[in-house]
């Protein structure tokens, strides 16, 4: 095989070109990998493209990587000049082999800034690198930078639109004068028609931008899911997903709801993925915050109450979760929000109970229970405080909490079978569990009654934790399950018990 420096040069340049051509030939490559192949086969490229999979034969990696590595470093030290296209190709090859090479991503950032690369192309390269290196911190870091660029472009476009609008409004005033003058001269209306066109154009552009952002967000969620499936408890993938929601989906109740719904199945199938469950806790907390801050009247009670997966009403709700200001929330609206939150907690604890019983001995599930209970505990305390404040002000914000201010509900009927009863699917209490204290959950359709001032049925509440735990402590459980149940009990007694 080619071993002299010159021969290696020729070989590697050809391979880099082959990789570039593979991407040109098939823009839908969706996975990369190394094909174990200790020796070169005569006259055949080590780059193999089968359907949408790009493979590199392993024998050439030991030539390829040091070559592109050194080439880039010489360029960085200004000892060797590279054209922009060559830089793009070399960093692409380098990063597919070694995606934590920070400086190579930085070179691409510079290429992006001067317009040689576009953001989507780099998101795609990162996505491919993640198929082989799903944890690669530098790949995730680069993605966040690229997404910031896209966000920056969008907000710049938004600002310039607003400026134009401002100009247009000022123009309107001037035109108004002109039009009156024109009217006197019998030539009215022309300026108005032109203005209509630009407004339509702006509206379309703004629509396009928000659609672009929504698509990017959706695509990011998919990239995160794929990486999460490739490597369990993938901290970088899940913390990226949180970052994306914090930066691209702020206050977007619909996105939070959709994520919570779609994650339900995922966590049920990955019961030891602590990061996946933490993401769920993040979503729950974000939703509760949103619902508690904006019990606004603009969103229909139906969409507020509905937390069921793929509820069609949600998809018709406001895409940005923007709620109009200035409308004072009424008592009933507060109550509806609180009911929705309570329902979220109820569903989450039910899911958690089901999973703990179906999959015994998973620390992740017990840790999830702690967090959800903690969130509930704090939310309840805030509600009580608000209620107390309300009653001292002579207002009544009732309905969520019972008159003695204690929302702690009776036990769910089926919890006593926690340990012994029920196989993986045969919990048998799914239907019962929706009933608490013999009263069904409020039907979203009941909201009409609310509007007309009829008091709603009592909202759902959480099961009693001590009795949930006691089901696991009678000695018939697997020892791990028993250990986690004991730790949970201790946590309730000390951490929650010590709080005011």
């Amino acid at each position: 095989m080619a071993e002299s420096e010159e021969e290696v040069d020729v070989l590697v340049q050809r391979v880099v070109k082959d990789i570039t051509n593979a991407f040109k030939r098939n823009p839908n490559i969706d996975e990369i990998g190394v094909i174990p192949c200790p020796e070169a086969r005569y006259n055949r490229s080590p780059i193999v493209l089968v359907e949408n999979k790009l493979g590199v034969e392993s024998w050439c990696v030991k030539f390829l990587l040091p070559y592109v590595h050194n080439k880039l470093l010489l360029y960085r030290q200004r000892k060797h000049w590279l054209e922009r296209e060559a830089l793009a190709d070399i960093t692409c090859t380098l990063l597919l082999l070694n995606p934590d090479f920070t400086t190579a991503w930085n070179v691409r950032k510079e290429l992006l800034q001067c317009g040689v690369l576009n953001p989507e192309k780099d998101l795609y390269l990162g996505q491919l690198a993640l198929t082989k290196f799903p944890k690669s911190p530098e790949t995730w870091i680069h993605r966040r930078w690229v997404l910031q660029q896209i966000l920056g472009q969008c907000s710049a476009a938004d600002r310039s639109k607003k400026r134009q609008q401002g100009d247009a409004e000022q123009g309107d005033a001037e035109r108004g004068v002109a039009e009156r003058r024109d009217a006197e001269q019998g030539d009215a209306g022309r300026g108005g028609a032109e203005r209509g066109d630009t407004e339509r154009g702006d509206a379309e552009r703004s629509q396009q931008l928000s659609e672009h952002l929504a698509r990017t967000l959706h695509q990011e969620m998919k990239v995160c899911s794929d990486a999460a499936c490739r490597y369990p408890s993938n901290y970088n993938a899940w913390s990226h997903r949180i970052w994306v929601l914090q930066h691209m989906g702020q206050g977007n109740v619909k996105v939070l709801h959709d994520e919570l719904s779609s994650m339900r199945l995922w966590v049920s199938m990955h019961v030891s993925d602590h990061s996946g469950f933490h993401y769920r806790q993040f979503l729950l907390k974000a939703l509760i915050t949103e619902l508690s801050q904006t019990p606004a009247s603009t969103s229909s009670p139906q969409q507020r109450c509905s937390t069921a997966p793929s509820s069609s009403s949600l998809h018709h709700s406001q895409a940005n979760g923007e709620l109009s200001e200035g409308e004072a929330a009424t008592d009933e609206e507060w109550q509806l929000s609180a009911n929705t939150v309570l329902q979220l907690f109820h569903q989450e604890m039910e899911l958690c109970s089901d999973l703990i019983q179906s999959f015994p001995g998973h620390e992740t599930l017990w840790s999830h229970r702690r967090h959800v209970f903690y969130l509930w505990h704090h939310w309840r305390r805030e509600q009580q405080q608000q209620q107390q404040k309300g009653s001292t002000n002579g207002e009544s914000r009732s309905g969520v909490l019972s008159s003695n201010g204690d929302p702690a509900p009776p036990t769910l009927s089926a919890q006593s079978s926690a340990c012994g009863g029920g196989g993986v699917n045969g919990q048998g209490h799914a239907a019962q569990a929706m009933e608490v204290d013999g009263v069904s959950l409020p039907d979203p359709r009941d909201s009409k009654r609310l509007k007309t001032g009829v008091r709603p049925p009592s909202p759902p509440a959480l099961p009693s934790e001590p009795s949930f735990v006691s089901g696991f402590l009678d000695g018939c459980c697997n020892p791990e399950q028993r250990r986690f149940a004991l730790a949970y009990k201790k946590w309730l007694d000390t951490v929650i018990g010590q709080q005011p």
Binding site: K62, L65, P66, H69, L73, L74, R76, Q77, N98, D100, F101, T102, T103, N106, K109, E138, I141, R144, W145, Q148, S233, Y235, W238, S239, I242, W243, Q246, S272, D273, H274, S275, H278, F282, K285, F359, P360, G361, H362, E363, T364, S367, R370, H371, Y374, L375, N478, E480, A487, W491, V495
Partner: protein, 331 residues
């Protein structure tokens, strides 16, 4: 119906005594394989690699075996115009490697090989309005970078050059309900991030802000039946997490809450009797990274064949005494 606990089983013939000479030979030989493919692959973190190797050599009192002038020259050539240091020549500067470089120069008592004022300017320039630190000029935020910033400044005696109050505020905004910390506000608790945040709060004199019992609880729950510690629930035990968890427990004064003897036998079982060095878990491939954290962990557990290590900076205590740095530890 049982679930296999995610843990390792330590075989009866696993190493149970400390092979110090083998480890020193392993590290001394590591740097000489510069043409290795593996060596190229890890060049992007070379500066940290050198810090791992030199620190573990110093803890074993073998530092004189390393090539001091060559290393100091190398570090000098990694300082950039902006003041920051890169992992290697031709790479871009970053806080991670700036800290590693300053740590190495402290071991060698040669911090003046650098333009210290420029290093300080570089770090200062990376602090954001909310008190957080970007890792480099491209703006990524992470609690690890806050630690790098204050650790470097503490070693240089220049902590007053940044807005410490704001920096503390950001770290505290990353605290979670379980007492732990993540990489950013809202992120999952992670033993590595907890180490950085606990170390940060120690260096800034703010350890009273930690809920030591709650955090200590979470950290202790990382110990598995094998004795090893993991970094998050249901992850495998790992020598490096053993260090991060153990050091965090030491910082918050709760190291006696775990089973030290069991952890010691887990760490010893991660040695390679033939090649020297430590792996992440028994039977895996060794590397300098896990070798440092294995030795440092044993030092924290009180092994007297090793120099005492400082839990906050992962450097020999005698070096910190020389630079007159005594980070807080809760009792």
């Amino acid at each position: 119906m049982g679930t296999q606990v995610k843990d390792v089983i330590i075989k009866p013939d696993a190493p149970s005594s400390l092979l110090l000479d083998k480890h020193a030979d392993y590290i001394a030989a590591y740097g000489s394989k510069k043409d290795d493919y593996e060596y190229t692959l890890s060049e992007y973190l070379r500066m940290s690699g050198i810090y791992w190797g030199l620190t573990v050599m110093d803890l074993m009192a073998q530092l004189p075996r390393m090539n001091r002038p060559e290393i100091v020259d190398f570090i000098k050539s990694c300082q950039h115009e902006c003041g920051g240091l890169s992992a290697s020549i031709g790479h871009d500067p970053h806080l991670l490697y700036t800290l590693s470089a300053v740590q190495i120069l402290c071991l060698y008592d040669s911090v003046d090989a650098l333009d210290v004022d420029k290093v300080v300017e570089y770090i200062k320039g990376l602090q954001q309005e909310d008190g957080s630190f970007a890792g480099d000029k491209w703006g990524e935020i992470d609690t690890r970078f806050s630690f790098c910033a204050v650790a470097t400044l503490a070693l240089l005696g220049k902590m007053d050059k940044i807005n410490v109050d704001k920096a503390v505020e950001f770290i505290l905004s990353c605290m979670n309900f379980d007492g732990g910390f993540g990489c950013r506000p809202g992120s999952e608790s992670h033993a590595g991030q907890i180490y950085c945040c606990a170390g940060f709060l120690s260096l800034t004199g703010q350890l009273h802000q930690v809920n030591a019992d709650l955090l200590g609880w979470w950290l202790c729950e990382r110990q598995l039946p094998s004795g090893g510690l993991n970094g998050r629930p249901e992850k495998l035990p790992d020598v490096c997490y053993s260090w991060w968890v153990l050091a965090s427990l030491k910082i918050i004064g709760r190291i006696h809450w775990i089973d030290k003897a069991k952890l010691r036998s887990f760490i010893l079982a991660c040695q390679d009797e033939e090649t020297g060095g430590f792996a992440d878990r028994p039977g895996d491939m060794v590397d300098p990274f896990h070798t440092l954290f294995g030795i440092a962990g044993l030092s924290l557990l009180g092994d007297e064949q090793i120099k005492p290590v400082n839990p906050v900076l992962c450097m020999p205590e005698d070096v910190l005494q020389r630079v007159r740095l005594q980070p807080d530890i809760l009792s």
